[in-house]
C-alpha cells in the first residue's frame, strides 16, 4: 500500500523538483555570484551580495513599503471579509446575487483591475475625485500612492477572504448559538465566545494565504505606479524586477529574491506554529 502511494506520487514529485526546487536552488546559487551579462564572466563572491543588501538604502525602503502594504491590506481584508461573511451567512432575498457581486473583484485579473483603478484614480478626470468632490493626486503623491495601491488590493482580495470565512461559518453548528441564546448570551458574547474561537484556525489559514500574496505584491503596483513617485511604492518584488529585468544584475537581484523568499518562509513558519497551537 505504502509503496503504491509512493509510486503514484513520484511523477508529481519529479515535476515539482524540476519546476520549483531546481530553479529555487539555482537562484540561491546565483545570489552568491557577481553575475551580469554586461560584466562578462560570473564570479563567485560568497555572501557579498547579501552584505551589500544590508547596506542598501533602497532595499530598506522597499522592505518598509512591503511590510506596510502587507500589514495594512491584510488587516483590512480580514476585518472586512469577516464582516461580509457574517452578513452573507443570514438568508435574505437576493443572497445568490450578492454572492456573485461580491466575488466579481476577485474574478478580474489583477492587471485588468489595476488598469481600471488607474483610471478611477486619475487626478484630472477620475471618478473617485468626482464622487468625493476632492482633487487628490492619488497615484502621483508620495503620501497617497501606496495607500491607493492598498485600497485596490483590499477591494480585490476581500471577496476571497469573505468566501473562505463564510465557508467556515457554515460549519459552526447552529445548536451552539441556540444553547447560548437560551442561556441569555448577548450577540456580542456569542460572537466572541463561539464564532471567533471556532473560526480561528480558518482565519489563520486565510492569514497565511493573504500575507504571502501581499508580501510578493507586484502586478498591481507595476501597473498603477511602477514604483514611483520617489520610490514610495517600490516593494521588494518591484525592486527585484528592476534589478533582474532592467539593469540585469542577476547576482544581486537573486540575493534580493532569496531574501524575499526567506521573509515569506519565516512568516509561514510563525503562522503554522500558531495554527498548531490553536488546534490543540
Amino acid at each position: 500500500m505504502r509503496r503504491d502511494s509512493a509510486a503514484f506520487l513520484a511523477p508529481a514529485g519529479v515535476v515539482l523538483a524540476l519546476v520549483a526546487l531546481l530553479p529555487m536552488l539555482l537562484v540561491v546559487w546565483l545570489s552568491l555570484e557577481q553575475r551580469s551579462p554586461l560584466l562578462g564572466a560570473a564570479r563567485f563572491i560568497g555572501f557579498d551580495n547579501y552584505l551589500r543588501l544590508f547596506g542598501d538604502v533602497r532595499f530598506w525602503n522597499a522592505f518598509g513599503n512591503t511590510v506596510y502594504f502587507t500589514a495594512v491590506s491584510v488587516a483590512l481584508e480580514i476585518l472586512l471579509g469577516l464582516a461580509i461573511a457574517l452578513l452573507l451567512r443570514h438568508a435574505f432575498r437576493g443572497r445568490a446575487l450578492m454572492y456573485s457581486v461580491v466575488l466579481l473583484p476577485w474574478a478580474i485579473p489583477t492587471v485588468v483591475s489595476a488598469r481600471l483603478w488607474e483610471w478611477m484614480y486619475n487626478a484630472d478626470y477620475g471618478v473617485l475625485n468626482y464622487l468625493l468632490g476632492t482633487s487628490i493626486n492619488w497615484l502621483g503623491s508620495p503620501a497617497w500612492a501606496l495607500n491607493a495601491a492598498i485600497l485596490m488590493d483590499v477591494w480585490k482580495a476581500t471577496p476571497f477572504v469573505a468566501l473562505l470565512l463564510l465557508a467556515g461559518l457554515q460549519t459552526i453548528p447552529r445548536e451552539l448559538y441556540q444553547a447560548a441564546a437560551i442561556d441569555g448570551a448577548s450577540p456580542w458574547t456569542m460572537f466572541r465566545r463561539i464564532t471567533v474561537p471556532l473560526l480561528a484556525p480558518l482565519i489563520l489559514v486565510v492569514l497565511i494565504f493573504r500575507t504571502i500574496d501581499a508580501f510578493r505584491v507586484f502586478d498591481a503596483i507595476y501597473v498603477l505606479t511602477g514604483g514611483g513617485p520617489a520610490n514610495s511604492t517600490e516593494t521588494l518584488s518591484i525592486y527585484a524586477y528592476k534589478l533582474l529585468f532592467q539593469t540585469l544584475e542577476f547576482g544581486y537581484g537573486s540575493a534580493l529574491a532569496v531574501s524575499v523568499l526567506s521573509c515569506v518562509g519565516l512568516l509561514t513558519i510563525v503562522y503554522v506554529r500558531l495554527l498548531r497551537r490553536s488546534g490543540k
Partner: protein
C-alpha cells in the same frame, strides 16, 4: 526617448492580455520549429542570409519590405530576414544582452535604443563601424546621434532615425491673449499662468513627470538649458548650483499651479491626451504627437504650434535625444554583408523612404532641405532646429543603472519630498556607490 513610442496604445501589436496562452503556444512550438529548421536545407543558390533584429517598428510593413527587397536586388547572393522583438524596450534590451553574452550568432544586425550603444560597445558585442563612417559621411549627420553612437572615440552603430523633446503650444490662445511663443522657461511660466487665468478649465503646462525613463529625459532638458547636466568630463557631476536652480524651477511649476500636480502620473500618451483634448496651453513631448494633433477629428487641429524647448535666461535650449541606431553583432558570421545592410538602411535614400512612409525623422541634415518631404511634413523645418540642439543622455555603459537612480531622485525633487539639493546630493552619492 523612444521607449514608450513603441509601447504606446497606438501600436498594440503585443497585447498584455492572453500572454499565458501565447507563451504556452510558443513553448510547444519550439520543438516543432527547431525540427522544421533542421530538416529543410537552405536554398542552394543563396550564399548568405543576414538576420536583422529590431523592435516592432512598423504598422504596415510594405515600405520597409520594399527597402529590404531593393537591398537584395543590389546585393546578389545576400538575403535579409527581418525578425521583430516584443515592443517593450526592456524586453528587447534583455533579449540582446542575454543572447550576446552567450555569443549568439543568430542575428547579424540589431536596432539599438540610443541609450544602449555604449553599454553594448563596452561589453564587446558590437563591431567597430569606423569604416562606414569616414569624416565626410559623419558630417552628414546631426552631432547628437553621432555622439550617442561613439564609444571611446569609435562609432559602434549608425543613426537610423531620431527623436527629441519639443514644445507644443496653443497658437490660437497665445494669439488671442497677445503672446508670442516663449524663449525662456520663466516666460513660459508667465504665459501659462496668464492664459490659464483667463480661460476656464485649462491647465498651463503638462509634461512627463511619472517616475520612469521619460522623467529623466524631461529633467535633463532643464539641467542642460541652465548650463548644467549629469556628467561633466566623464565624471558624475549632479549636485551643482546650475542643476539645483533648474530643479527648483521645475518644482516651482507645480507649487505655482502652472503645471498640475498630477503631472507626476503622466507618461507620453496621457500627457498628449490632456493637450490633445484642448485642456493645456503648453506640452512637452516627442515629435510623434504632431501628426496626431493634426489628424481629422482632433480637438486642437490647426491650433497647435511646435517650437524648440525654452531655456533659462542667458543659456541655450537643449532637447533630449531619442531614436534608434543600427549596429552589427560582433558574433555575426557575415559581418561584411551585415555592414552593407547597415550602410544601406542608414543611407539618405532609405531614410527618406522611412520618413515618407512612417514619419520617422532622419538623422541626416540634408533631408531637411528635401522639397518633397517638407511638402508633406512642414514641421520638419522646426524639427531641424530642435535636432541641432539634441543631446544624448549620458553616454555611459552603466546608463540603465544611472537612470534608475535619477528617476527616483528627480521624482523626489518634483514631488517635493526632497529639496533639489537633497535629491541631487543623494543621486550623486548613489551613483558613485552603485556604478562600478
Amino acid at each position: 526617448m523612444s521607449r514608450s513610442r513603441f509601447e504606446d496604445e497606438r501600436r498594440p501589436l503585443h497585447s498584455h492580455a492572453g500572454r499565458g496562452p501565447i507563451a504556452w503556444g510558443i513553448l510547444l512550438a519550439i520543438p516543432l520549429l527547431t525540427a522544421a529548421c533542421t530538416e529543410s536545407p537552405a536554398p542552394r543558390e543563396v550564399a548568405t542570409t543576414v538576420v536583422f533584429k529590431h523592435g516592432k517598428l512598423f504598422g504596415d510593413t510594405t515600405a520597409f519590405e520594399g527597402l529590404l527587397g531593393q537591398f537584395e536586388r543590389e546585393h546578389p547572393g545576400v538575403r535579409v530576414r527581418s525578425e521583430s522583438l516584443p515592443a517593450a524596450s526592456d524586453a528587447q534590451h534583455q533579449f540582446y544582452a542575454i543572447s550576446l553574452s552567450a555569443r549568439s550568432a543568430e542575428f547579424d544586425v540589431l536596432a539599438l535604443d540610443v541609450i544602449w550603444v555604449a553599454e553594448f560597445a563596452r561589453a564587446g558585442w558590437l563591431r567597430d563601424l569606423s569604416a562606414l563612417l569616414p569624416a565626410a559621411e559623419r558630417a552628414q549627420f546631426f552631432s547628437g546621434p553621432i555622439e550617442a553612437v561613439t564609444w571611446e572615440g569609435k562609432p559602434y552603430a549608425l543613426p537610423w532615425f531620431m527623436d527629441a523633446g519639443v514644445l507644443y503650444y496653443r497658437k490660437d490662445l497665445l494669439d488671442k491673449h497677445g503672446f508670442v511663443p516663449p524663449k525662456t522657461w520663466p516666460e513660459l511660466a508667465r504665459i501659462a499662468q496668464a492664459v490659464r487665468d483667463k480661460e476656464s478649465g485649462m491647465h498651463g503646462f503638462v509634461w512627463q513627470g511619472k517616475q520612469y525613463e521619460g522623467l529623466v529625459c524631461n529633467a535633463l532638458e532643464y539641467l542642460w538649458s541652465n548650463g548644467g547636466g549629469a556628467v561633466d568630463s566623464d565624471t558624475i557631476a549632479l549636485n551643482t548650483a546650475a542643476n539645483r536652480e533648474a530643479l527648483a524651477f521645475v518644482r516651482s511649476l507645480l507649487t505655482s499651479g502652472v503645471t498640475p500636480e498630477f503631472v507626476t502620473t503622466l507618461t507620453e500618451e496621457p500627457a498628449r491626451e490632456v493637450f490633445g483634448r484642448g485642456a493645456a496651453v503648453f506640452l512637452r513631448n516627442w515629435p510623434y504627437a504632431w501628426q496626431l494633433f493634426e489628424q481629422e477629428g482632433s480637438a486642437v487641429r490647426g491650433k497647435v504650434g511646435v517650437s524648440v524647448l525654452p531655456h533659462f535666461p542667458g543659456q541655450r535650449s537643449a532637447a533630449t535625444l531619442g531614436g534608434w541606431q543600427l549596429g552589427v553583432s560582433k558574433f555575426s558570421k557575415h559581418p561584411q554583408a551585415a555592414e552593407q545592410l547597415v550602410k544601406f538602411l542608414t543611407s539618405s535614400g532609405a531614410q527618406r523612404v522611412l520618413a515618407l512612409a512612417y514619419g520617422y525623422n532622419p538623422p541626416r541634415h540634408a533631408l531637411y532641405q528635401d522639397g518633397e518631404l517638407l511638402a508633406v511634413q512642414p514641421h520638419l523645418r522646426t524639427l531641424e532646429t530642435v535636432y541641432a540642439h539634441a543631446r544624448p543622455r549620458p553616454v555611459t555603459p552603466h546608463y540603465v543603472r544611472l537612470s534608475q537612480i535619477l528617476q527616483a531622485e528627480f521624482s523626489a525633487a518634483v514631488t517635493g519630498v526632497k529639496t533639489p539639493g537633497e535629491a541631487l546630493a543623494s543621486a550623486q552619492r548613489e551613483a558613485r556607490q552603485r556604478l562600478p
